[in-house]
Amino acid sequence: MKAFVMRSAALAALVLTVSASPALAKTDIQWWHAMQGVLGERVNEIATKFNASQNDYEVKPVFKGSYPETLNAAVAAYRAKQPPHVVQVFEAGTQTMLSSGAVYPVHQLLKDNGVSVDWNDLIGPVKSYYSTGGNLASMAFNSSTPILYYNKDLFKKAGLPDKPPATWNEVESMAKKLVAAGAKCGYSTAWPSWVLMENMHALHDQPFADHSNGFDGLATTLKINGAFGVKMMELIARGGREGWFTYNGRLSKAEANMGGGECGIFTTSSAYIAGLTRASEGKFAWGTGPLPKMTGYPQGNSVIGGATLWVMKGAKPEEYKGVAQFFKYLASTENQAWWAGVTGYLPLTNTAVKAMEASGHYAKHPHQKTSVTQMMAGKTTPNSQGTRLGNFVSVRDAIEEQMENILSGKKTAKQGLDDAVAKSNDVLKEFAALYK
């Protein structure tokens, strides 16, 4: 059925394009993205709305697979000298893009095309993550940060109050009660490295890598095998042994377990709000809270994930003009408030946050405010402004590989993290050698 609808839609689009093209020669703008499911539908909606808003440009969103697949497609296309105008690259690819020499920095593009956007209106963490020297290198698009989710039905069954755990001690005690009351999984997490290592370090103002996590020079050494990282991993490994933590796979795989109603407490991207809303419909109630803290550490901030839009070199000036117009549309408060409202991603400007507050959106959807509150309450320090590493995907992979070895009891927390650091340093040094 879905395939049929898609085909009809594609056919309708084709007929429309064919019939419309002789009348108005619109300039095409290729936008490659990695948004699937509900999010993919929203991306198409943005393009449709922008295309309807003016007559000169036609933004064509193309789904290119997962984030790494999309980046790969852009690499291959750039090498074949046929790059898309705009490509969505996840935060892990930021350093790769910055170093690549293949991008047209967004602040430059907008300046060249006479579009002014008030960058000071961007919320702090987003601006710091994606700027170099105070100038935005890529167009902020979908930024998220991990938050905590809890299954209210399971909480009720376990006799717990309707309140998310605020500290790791509470996560432990609540998860134990959940399991005792029959929950299949007390606590679990998606994106193990991003949530438990990258974000936990930043949230507690602990360094993740040298050179301020890669912000003042290419990072070559990870710092996660310090006292804090080991403490964090020991806690999770003990949770696994004692049965209150369940490991459900790398990347976003574990989200299926939360969506299936198995887990009492869960941590993942705030962007999962859209997916969980759909998955839990008519099945169970849930709530959100900020990420749990460890006591006795200074206040940092959670870091953002998600992706930004990069403009590739090699297109014609009139096409870039269209890209600039499109970005102006994306940055508009109206679009920002709508996008954040329907997805769970962070609204990117302070004005959009205020607009959502004023329209009563947050009163109606309180869990969407969780991520905003969490970020605003945090403190931006060199350890919490973000993480920029070359070949970050390989680094994350090395970390998640060793997390599995720790969780399965094959290695101690210290051993596993030492090995993850050694492997990651090797990868980082290779990248640094490339751009020395």
Binding site: S99, S100, Y247, N248
Partner: protein, 293 residues
């Protein structure tokens, strides 16, 4: 054999030209390009290309994880091949008997071969997934054993071996069936008359006569397990838990396509290329000798 003689000196070359062209463009060129790239440290978007000699290979060979991956690959391929062939031979012998509905039976046995490795992986995932798989669910009624292969390396390994065997099963069966049917029934009847039972007949006559087929399938399955199982690993285990199922071809893909370390990944492809050359050389050298009889 009749020798065909072409009058025109150039015609034979013209006739093989398309095949040669395809081989050059799609096989030799990329292969040579990988060899070239393996000597460089290359940036993703192609703006930096630094000649490093054999440094990529040195980095690989010094990496304990890479050596472990090589061992994993051989263990995986060995089990896929041995278990796969034994099972196919057993079922081929049974399917070779004169029973009713043989055609349907044989067609069904051949089915899995038509399925792409990645799809096969997804099917197995739906059966074995720790939280939404059918089997762990059924198991939970009879035992408290936690079937979580997200953390148990050997379970994950067994799972992909079984899936690969199943996937390749139809192919092996087809060859064994054909081999069995090519054996003259008079030879077997003669043995029966001499008083040899079914098991004796199998080991003394059928198995040796099948050895060329076995050898061919052995090389083919080794190659399959080494190279074509990427989709299976990618959809089921992603190389984990830890690096328990990280076979060489999967690592090469991961470092190249996810990690964008192109030279490093090319060096891994070159090593894999050497392995496949070795396997093929073995195939030619021994299979040409017809192994037995």
């Amino acid at each position: 054999m009749k020798r065909t003689v072409f009058r025109n000196r150039w015609l034979p070359y013209a006739l093989v030209a398309p095949q040669v062209a395809i081989t050059v463009v799609f096989f030799f060129w990329p292969a040579l390009d990988s060899v070239r790239l393996s000597l460089y440290r290359a940036s993703p978007f192609g703006d930096r290309l630094i000649y490093v000699g054999l440094a990529n290979f040195e980095r690989l060979l010094a990496d304990e994880a890479y050596r472990r991956s090589a061992v994993t690959s051989f263990v995986f391929s060995f089990f896929v091949t041995v278990v796969g062939l034994a099972l196919a031979l057993l079922l081929a012998s049974l399917a070779n008997a004169r029973i009713r509905g043989l055609g349907v039976y044989r067609s069904l046995l051949l089915w899995p071969y038509g399925i792409a490795p990645a799809i096969a992986g997804i099917i197995w995932l739906f059966i074995f997934h720790p939280s939404y798989g059918v089997l762990p669910y059924l198991l939970s009624f009879v035992t408290a054993y936690q079937f979580n292969w997200f953390l148990k390396g050997w379970v994950a390994m067994t799972l992909i071996v079984v899936a690969a065997v199943w996937k390749q099963f139809g192919y092996n069966l087809a060859f064994y069936l054909a081999g069995l049917q090519a054996i003259e029934s008079s030879v077997i009847e003669a043995a029966s008359v001499d008083g040899a039972g079914p098991i004796r007949r199998f080991f003394a006559i059928v198995f040796p006569l099948l050895s060329p087929v076995t050898f061919f399938l052995f090389t083919l399955n080794m190659t399959f397990a080494f190279f074509d199982t990427f989709g299976l690993v990618h959809s089921v285990t992603q190389g984990g838990p830890g690096d328990a199922t990280s076979i060489m071809v999967y690592r090469a893909w991961k470092d190249g396509f996810e990690g964008l370390q192109l030279g490093y990944s090319a060096a891994q492809s070159v090593i894999l290329m050497l392995v496949v050359m070795l396997l093929t050389a073995m195939q030619f050298r021994y299979a040409e000798k017809k192994v037995t009889y």
